[in-house]
Amino acid sequence: MTATSAPEAPLRQRSRSRLRRIESRQALGFISPALVGLTVFTIAPVFLSIVMSLYDWPAWGTRSFVGLGNYVDLFTSHPDFWPALRNSAIFTLGFVPLNLAVSLSLALLLAPRIKGRAAFRVLFFIPVVTPMVANVLVWKMLLQPNGLFNGISTSWFGIELPSFLNHPQWAMVMVIVMSVWQGMGYNMLIFCAALEQLPEPVLEAARIDGAKGWRMFTKITLPLLSPAIFFTTVMTMITSMQVFAQPQLLTGGGPGNATLPIVMFIYDQAFTFQKMGLAAAAAWILFAIIIGLTALQFSAQKRWVHYEV
């Protein structure tokens, strides 16, 4: 590769385009693993999935073209589809605000020079990186009728707590609470980083003007943080529409289908009932909803997100 002959003045143009070609070839070499992988494992499956959603497509056996039949089925005749969408929506509505409130509060509390703040951060972050299954198993134990919560409540206060995981409403509440415990450390770190990057001149100016306490927080800190809040809201909403492991392991979607989210519906249809076409259609509906909600948030951001400069 080293032997590119010294370019001569009249030939400069040609030699440059030759260098260009060499560089293009090198680039092709560097890019091809990623390009091939992405084509095989992402781009092709996307198209395959569209095709599958138009077929009655069992995991094994003959397929038949049904057009939009799967989509129509889902909306009109599938007993679990609407409840699954509703459950994902309830989860999102409960999880996103709670997650943001807790993570932002903790980040703000950790922002002053609290000693050992690195240790606190690590503690709050650990459930994010430990296997979800392990986290859920621990919570499953806590929430047993004879688990820690009810044990403390009955023996210390004489109050019998409801059977959390067997009660339609409490089960969802507990899926949300467990998920906040599990996932809020991630947003907390983002807020911590954002707080460290607040522009000092603006804060100083506000202080000189006499802002402090609650006023400082609502009028200065919060607007300055709004890009980070916007970002975390969008991302958290996307991931919470995709919730799967927590309800699957904590409640199995039950009682009944009270905590069955849409991704678990997709999983069940594809891999338990072998209706891969129906599952593909449901996945596209979910994707469309996520895109729609995200677009909505982006169009609403003008109202409350303040970007500097």
Partner: protein
């Protein structure tokens, strides 16, 4: 989203050990070192939150050390009659737990290796080389980031069937190793490296592979470190995909799968289940504790990058 910040915020080698920059928000400079009411309030809140937060973790550890019949004792006890360290050993006797751990390590390490190779080479092509169609292909990469896993699992499982890859290690590793996220992260980092360095190497006669391997990659060490940790953790904790593509758990089950089946098979052995859970939490917890400085920056930047 502010793409330039990524190269800035990913820690550069050398400054990794430097203390966190910037003054903390909210605390006026003059209050330095003095215990203001606000600071006391913050301390109280943080400590209370931390205690509440730690309950499940502590409860898991304590339960892992109790005899099984004392876990649900009423009233709840802190420890059982005896501290049973033996539970941790029993875990390995009850299921193919070594297999789960071995598989998890293998999948996570191999997956991280693939992700790193693919992301750094592609990032180099996007960030450092000029070629026709580069921007179009890059946009294509970014678009794939938006495709959710649920849309992919069904057709990718179909592909695995066609390839005959169901229940194989490569099916656990390859399908989700070509994410555009790593490429994006590395591209951003590579763009921040001065071109003179590379030109000097080229003038000295180094080919593209050598320039990449000896000049560019060493400079990107910290970005590679961040990518490595995130990828390792996501492979280590992955649950949905292994659940789908593996059917012989005794052969190819990873730790999350193993834990979940533990629950079915030995539903009453809560002590062993907790011991197993605690064991599975250790590697990533250590990773986070050791690398916490990098991670704070990494999460911030990776987060802003759209993960």
């Amino acid at each position: 989203m502010r793409s330039e910040t990524i190269a800035d915020a990913v820690p550069h080698p050398g400054e990794a050990a430097a203390p966190t920059r910037g003054t903390s928000a909210g605390a006026p400079a003059r209050a330095k070192g003095r215990a203001t009411p606000g600071l006391v309030f913050a301390y109280v809140c943080v400590v209370v939150a931390a205690l509440l937060f730690a309950v499940p973790l502590v409860y898991a550890l304590l339960s892992a050390l109790k005899p099984n019949d004392q876990i649900f004792a009423v009233p709840p006890t802190l420890t059982g009659d005896e501290v049973r360290w033996g539970n941790f050993a029993d875990v390995f006797r009850f299921g193919p737990f070594w297999t789960y751990i071995g598989n998890s390590f293998f999948v996570a390490i191999a997956g991280t290796l693939v992700v790193n190779i693919v992301s750094t080479t592609a990032g180099y092509a996007f960030g450092r080389l000029r070629w026709r169609g580069r921007d179009v292909v890059f946009v294509l990469f970014l678009v794939t980031l938006m495709v959710p896993q649920e849309v992919l699992v069904v057709p990718v499982f179909q592909l695995m069937q066609w390839f005959g890859w169901v229940n194989t290690p490569q099916a656990l590793i390859l399908p989700f190793a070509f994410t555009a996220f790593g490429t994006f992260l590395m591209r951003q980092f590579f763009r921040g490296i001065p071109y003179e360095l590379e030109e000097a190497a080229r003038v000295d006669g180094a080919g593209p592979l050598r320039t990449f391997g000896m000049i560019i990659l060493p400079l990107a060490r910290s970005a590679v470190a961040v990518l490595t940790v995130f990828t390792f953790i996501s492979f280590w904790n992955s649950y949905l995909w292994p659940l789908i593509v593996v059917n012989d758990y005794g052969y190819l089950g990873t730790l999350p799968i193993g834990l979940a089946t533990f629950s079915g098979q030995f539903g009453t052995r809560w002590d062993l289940q907790m011991a197993a859970s605690v064991i599975s939490m250790v590697p990533t917890a250590i990773l986070v504790i050791v690398l916490q400085k990098h991670l704070v920056k990494g999460i911030a930047t990776a987060g802003i990058a759209g993960r």
